[in-house]
Amino acid sequence: MDGVTLLLEGFASALTPEHLLWALIGVTIGTAVGVLPGIGPALTVALLLPITFRLEPSSALIMFAGIYYGGMYGGSTTSILLNTPGESASMISALEGNKMARAGRAAAALATAALGSFVAGTIGTVALTFLAPVVADFATGFGPPEYVALMAVAFVTVSALLGPNLLKGLASLLVGIAIGLIGIDAQTGQPRLTYGIDALLDGIDVVIVVVALFALSEAFGHLLTGTGHSTVEPLRGPAVLSRSDFRRSWPAWLRGTALGFPIGSLPAGGAEVPTFLSYAAEKRLTKHPEEFGRGAIEGVAGPEAANNAAAAGVLVPLLTIGLPTSATAAVILTAFQSYGLQPGPQLFSESGELVWTLVASLYVGNVMLLVLNLPLVRMWARLLTIPAYAIYAGVLVFATLGAYAAGGTTVDLLVLCGLGLLGLLMRTAGVPVAPAVVGLILGPLAEQQLRRALTLSEGDPSILVSSPITVFLWIVVVLALLIPLVLPVAKRRRRALTEVR
């Protein structure tokens, strides 16, 4: 069967009243939580994952897709109105978007962000529809050595592209991998790093780690620095685009999408790279260079589109190879596993119906978000006026709830607290936490594949470079380690990061 037929079947399943309701609930709470300052998409999906635990897989996936896209939309609203981007990907939209808001153009900035996200999300989802089955077909030929090489690429790129330098990225990655070692070794049944504590035998749940590193560290961080007095820019009038704004926005949306989807769909980390590239491209191509840095609409339109297209792109390696390349994707992988699904080439043949329902609900969610966001954006903006202490105290309540739902024991809550302190230390030290999340998820999978490969070859490591694909991928690994040292893009990105901070 071809993709279109399968997708239509997916739509048939996604468009039932019950599933539409789940999608609506998903996008609504996804947006509501994503709007809260300091809460990025990864944390949004992690915090809301427990809600979907008790639903049947298809409803859970549909709601989850809504939460994912809703979290992304909500995040851009916050960066524009409050200048507190929840994730590095929305930092760039904060650059110009918040300036626009300060100049009284918040409505136009929000409208171009919402429409750009819609355009990019839709094109990205269409591209996903056609690309994913092809990649899945291709990936069925992969054996353990190819997986090991692919995961090495993901590890290195995630460490190199996130955070201020490679050393800190690697440190974060290793922390994640080390946490992933805790628990019973699946192949030999040996407990590792459990120190006789029963609750650790199953390992530490990903949700606990994500919630601790993102949410608790945020709350702890505000204890150190104070919650500050951030000003919410007022929003006058409905979010609409004037004709000239539209004329300036749409090419930026398309360029952002063209950068975002392909880069996002690479089996390498760094889904936010396209947002930086898009910003640089818009700055170079604009006819209004004097506006950049003071609130140029292209500077919001392009990066927002790139960000959303990349979010769709990230689903390609995630669904077809089982390879998460961002913290958000890592949480999505966990969600799949908790619904009893294992992403990978077999996912499309074994659970094709569910996958296409998910893809269809991504389209549905996108439309819902546009309908929901443009008229309701003032209501979401009102959420930003909740005092910071109430937001973070509420986040703590949800964080502990998520940890308890994922683990169900007192030990899980203590682990949550300990990892929260670790997250605080990492934040203060400028160590990015996203590589740790990717390492935690991918580490055990990489170990499994590595040991499988070496068992096949009876211990001979040359099997790891036994095919042209693996040789190519290992060359990519080496390049990814060397390039950040010389590439101007990386420097510019770091510069942008420093500016935002």
């Binding site: 080390a178 070692l181 070794d185 790093l193 919650t227 502990t400 739902a405 670790l422 170990e447 040991r451």
Partner: protein
């Protein structure tokens, strides 16, 4: 213009935290290696210790690297944004609140303990001392309990009074 990044002096807090984090990685390296060494050898071609050992070594190397990096930058570091008064105490108090929450949850039930956690966190974060904070916390905890325990069926500890 793009190249004037490096000389920017780093925040002293960042440098010190990097050093502590590096030290923590060294401790982690020792724990991982010691644990890996004690694993019994199995009949499998690649035993359970094959991956932890190099990870432990890498943790040690990166930890040492961070320590060296922090040592190098410490002399030029400037004091950055000041912390709140008694910032350390506030963090400790929140840790105590979280530990208290974890220990009291099975005894007192979800709504009471979650309300306590909310109030403690809000006050530490600078909320006004006002009964409304307790009311907000109670309302949030009750809604969470109703939605998750009653509606979704995620069993939360009920405590002696059933909520």
């Amino acid at each position: 213009m793009a190249d004037e990044l490096e000389p920017v002096a780093v925040d002293r807090h960042t440098v010190l935290a990097t050093a502590v984090f590096g030290g923590l990685l060294l401790v982690g390296a020792v724990l991982v290696i010691v644990d890996a060494v004690r694993l019994p050898t199995t009949s499998a071609v690649v035993g359970p210790a094959a991956v932890p050992l190099p990870i432990g070594v890498a943790l040690g190397a990166v930890g040492a690297g961070l320590l060296v990096d922090a040592r190098r930058k410490l002399s030029t570091a400037r004091s950055g944004a000041p912390w709140q008064p008694r910032a350390g105490l506030r963090v400790l108090a929140l840790v105590a609140a979280l530990v208290g929450f974890a220990l009291l949850l099975p005894l007192l039930g979800y709504v009471v303990t979650a309300t306590g956690l909310f109030v403690a966190a809000a006050l530490l974060l600078g909320a006004p001392r006002d009964w409304r904070v307790v009311a907000w916390g109670w309302a949030l905890a009750a809604v969470v309990f109703l939605v998750f325990d009653r509606l979704i069926g995620l069993t939360l500890p009920a405590g002696p009074w059933g909520f």
